[in-house]
Structures are given as structure tokens and as C-alpha cells.
């Protein structure tokens, strides 16, 4: 059929059939995009095609894995020795800190038991390795080598040694995709450690930072302030470092302050990450605080007759 076109008018060919076909395919693509946008078909197709897609990811990840192996194999000895030395020192320091923290943690545990709260400091984590694959989309995503078969579910927070990296947005049978906190479509509820101000950190447009676009003008936020996860929203457990404020300036509208935040996690370089397994709390606002006091079992026997605590207030409506 192509030869027919050659014969007819090779230089200025404008056949209607081609245009019609183009329109057909473009329309098909647009319909697909809209359906996908509405129903999230992409994940389902990827799930269905996982048997084909995952080997492709592994294959595409090979060069990066190879480079890592090569850099270890041919890395000069001095560099490796230095690295080893540094890691030893880090480990020593971390262990020393841990030993000191253990006593505090135990005390904390005890006090919390007294207060009858169930939050524990222990982490239920799973180690995962980053597969070096370029996922396009301005690359604010990572691929991990664990998936649904290892118990990974969408929504799980991902951290590294320094702070929060992001959350799982998709899990295939043996791989999963992580959206980084620096993705412009990502938002994470944070609290300023120094002042306790709660706000939301979004990924910045440039893609390697976070922004706090809605700080009230009167609020006290300074460069150098540390941000922690606040635990609101129930997705990220509270208390993990998110980043450090580098710059505060009034917004263009003049109604808010805008702060630039350097992420705490080593977003570009982490090869090994941790997946948190316990989802902090179910979605929705946190349960209303219980009245403080020791648990009722510890109360003296005669007090049991008296109405101990008022009935819990009804759930907060949004």
C-alpha cells in the first residue's frame, strides 16, 4: 500500500486516508488518556502485564547495577578504605547513641504504658533496594526491588537513614514504585520542630526541594528550622525528619510566607531504603485525645463505682 503512494505523488503526497487514520489514532490515544485519568487503568494494565514488564525493568536496571559493581571492583583501594573507616566511625557513633537512647526509650515506654497510649517507638521495617530505572515524568519516582509478594502495599511510607523519602504508589508482584516527597504532586503534613507550627510541605516545581507555600505571615519560621512529619492524615507516622528550611520569603501574592526546604533524606543517592510496615493510623483525623490519667486497672478498687471518665466525645466531623 505504501508503494501505491509512491507512485501517485511522491513529493507532495497528501492522502486523505493517512489523515483519517491519524485522527483515528489520536482520538484513540486521547480516549485512553481520559479513561486512564479517570479510572487508573495504567496500574491495572501494568499489573496484568507484570510478567513482561518486570523483566524489562530488571534488564533496564542492569547497567546501573553493573556500574555499582564495577565501582566497587575497580574502586581504588584508598577510597574504599576511607569509606570503610568512615562507616565504622558512623556505626560506633550510632551504637553509642543507641545505647544511651535505650535507657530513655525504656523509660519512655514505661511512661507511655502508664498513660495507656499504644504508640511505640519500635519500627516494623523492611529493607529494599532501589532499581536504577528512569521512570520519566521528570523523574520524581523510584523503583524498588520488593513488591506485592513481599507484602508491599500502596501507601506505605519509605524512609532512608536521614528522613522521609516518599510513599509507595504502586506495587507490582516483585517491584514497586515510590513517589518521592519532592514530586510536585506530593504533599506531606509536617510540623516545625522548634515552634510546633503545623503546615503542609509540597514537592517543588524544580523537583529537588520541598516548599511550604502557606505559612501565615505572622508565623515564626526561620532558615535552619527542622521539619518533622506531624502524623496528621494518618499516612506518615509522626516524628520523622522531612527537611530543613533554607529560605523564607513572602509569597508573590503577599498573603503568605513561602519557605524552601531541603529534604532530609538523601533523595538522589540512596541505594537502600526502608519501607515502614505499620501504617500509623487509619485515614482521617486522629482520634480525639483521651483524658490523661493512669489506666483504670491501676485505680483503687473503691473508685471503680464512681463514673471514671466522661463518655468519649463524638468523632470530629470534617
Amino acid at each position: 500500500m505504501a508503494h501505491a503512494r509512491d507512485e501517485s505523488s511522491p513529493l507532495f503526497a497528501g492522502n486523505a486516508a493517512g489523515t483519517l487514520r491519524l485522527i483515528f489514532y489520536l482520538a484513540l490515544a486521547v480516549v485512553l488518556m481520559v479513561l486512564d485519568q479517570r479510572n487508573g487503568w495504567m496500574w491495572r494494565v501494568r499489573d496484568a502485564a507484570a510478567a513482561v514488564v518486570e523483566p524489562v525493568y530488571r534488564l533496564a536496571g542492569l547497567p546501573v547495577a553493573g556500574m555499582r559493581t564495577l565501582s566497587v571492583a575497580f574502586g581504588d583501594r584508598q577510597h574504599l578504605t576511607e569509606q570503610n573507616q568512615r562507616l565504622r566511625e558512623d556505626l560506633l557513633l550510632a551504637n553509642a547513641k543507641l545505647n544511651r537512647m535505650a535507657a530513655v526509650a525504656q523509660q519512655n515506654q514505661h511512661l507511655k504504658e502508664l498513660l495507656d497510649t499504644r504508640h511505640s517507638l519500635e519500627l516494623n521495617v523492611q529493607l529494599a533496594r532501589v532499581i536504577g530505572v528512569d521512570l520519566g515524568a521528570y523523574s520524581h519516582r523510584l523503583m524498588l526491588n520488593v513488591g506485592a509478594r513481599d507484602g508491599v502495599k500502596p501507601g506505605q511510607p519509605v524512609i532512608d537513614a536521614h528522613g522521609v523519602m516518599g510513599q509507595v504508589i504502586e506495587s507490582l508482584p516483585t517491584t514497586s514504585v515510590v513517589m518521592l516527597v519532592t514530586d510536585p504532586a506530593h504533599a506531606i503534613p509536617v510540623v516545625v520542630e522548634r515552634t510546633g507550627l503545623r503546615t503542609v510541605a509540597y514537592g517543588s516545581r524544580g523537583g529537588d526541594q520541598l516548599v511550604l507555600p502557606t505559612i501565615p505571615l505572622a508565623a515564626d519560621v526561620q532558615p535552619g528550622d527542622q521539619l518533622l512529619t506531624s502524623g496528621l492524615g494518618g499516612r506518615f507516622p509522626p516524628g520523622f525528619p522531612v527537611g530543613r528550611v533554607t529560605e523564607v520569603a513572602p509569597a508573590a501574592t503577599g498573603m503568605f510566607l513561602v519557605a524552601q526546604v531541603q529534604p532530609a533524606a538523601d533523595i538522589g543517592r540512596s541505594e537502600d531504603v526502608l519501607l515502614l510496615h505499620d501504617q500509623a493510623e487509619p485515614d482521617g483525623p486522629p482520634a480525639p485525645a483521651k483524658p490523661m490519667g493512669p489506666p483504670s486497672e491501676l485505680a483503687p478498687a473503691n473508685a471503680a463505682d464512681a463514673p471514671a471518665t466522661p463518655p468519649a466525645p463524638p468523632g470530629v466531623s470534617r
Partner: protein
């Protein structure tokens, strides 16, 4: 294996390798320089062997690219379809351009592709990409002569049509 099936294998292999190359990341600072490989390879084939490359094939390759690496299903299918359509439409002229002119044409095609992508992303509600995002088409156009000569040379060496 006869020449015909060898050719078919080679054709498929280049497309698969292009998809893989698209997935392989470049180290951090070089990342924006990565050309859009599937577009380049499809362009080569649409210039050199017209009857193999059809809009349907471009659509299929785009869908494949979308499944392995993409934000929205159908996005790359749309882009590659538009690209191949333009290339096929001007094929007879593009083929006889001198190399530098051909590279310029490729640059325009790739820039057009970026604009399409921008449009799709914009309608999808994504934010504007950084300026470095526009480097890739230039790299693609600069690589075009080498890719073209390499693929042509291999084809001539193996005597496949």
C-alpha cells in the same frame, strides 16, 4: 535465516533496544540530556523503510512505552503517532535532505513532540517542567547523524532491506 526474517528481527530489536535505552537512567546531572530514543529509532525506520512503519505500529510502540514508563496510558502513543505521521508525510523530501538539514528537521520534530507532551501534561494538571527539560530534543538532533549512519551502515553490511 533468510534476509527477510533477519530484517524483521533487526527491526524489532532496534525498537526494543530503544525502549530499554529510554528506561536506563543517566547519572544525575546528565539526566536532562537523555534523548527520546523510541522517537529517533521510529524516525529512522519511517524514513528508510516506509512500508514497515505505520501509524498503527507507532501507536503500539507508544503504548508499550507508556506501560513500562509513563504517567498516563496513551500519552506516548499520541506523541509517536503525531511524529510518525509528519515524518511519513514529508518522507520523500526528508530522505534527500543533506545530513545537517535532516538534523534540523529532526530537531523541529522533537521540539514539536515536546510541545505536544507539554500540552498533554498541562491538560492533565501537571506543573511546568524546568528549563533543562528542553535540552533533550537538541541532544537528539545532534545524535541523529550518528544514529542514522550507524543504522544505515549495519543494514548495508548485513545486506538487509
Amino acid at each position: 535465516m533468510n534476509r527477510q526474517s533477519l530484517m524483521r528481527w533487526w527491526f524489532t530489536a532496534t525498537l526494543v533496544v530503544a525502549l530499554l535505552l529510554m528506561l536506563v537512567p543517566l547519572p544525575g546531572p546528565l539526566a536532562p540530556f537523555k534523548p527520546y530514543w523510541p522517537a529517533l529509532v521510529l524516525l529512522y525506520w519511517s524514513l528508510e523503510s516506509e512500508d514497515r512503519v505505520t501509524l498503527g505500529l507507532a501507536f503500539a510502540v507508544g503504548l508499550g512505552a507508556d506501560v513500562v514508563n509513563g504517567v498516563v496510558l496513551g500519552e506516548q502513543a499520541l506523541r509517536l503517532c503525531a511524529l510518525v505521521f509528519i515524518a511519513l508525510r514529508f518522507r520523500s523530501r526528508l530522505r534527500f535532505f543533506p545530513m545537517w538539514q535532516q538534523s534540523l528537521a529532526v530537531l523541529v520534530l522533537l521540539l514539536n513532540d515536546r510541545v505536544l507532551l507539554l500540552l498533554v501534561r498541562f491538560l492533565g494538571g501537571a506543573s511546568l517542567p524546568p528549563a533543562s527539560w528542553w535540552i533533550a530534543p537538541f541532544v537528539g538532533a545532534a545524535l541523529w547523524p550518528f544514529l542514522f549512519l550507524l543504522l544505515d551502515d549495519l543494514r548495508a553490511r548485513w545486506r538487509i532491506q
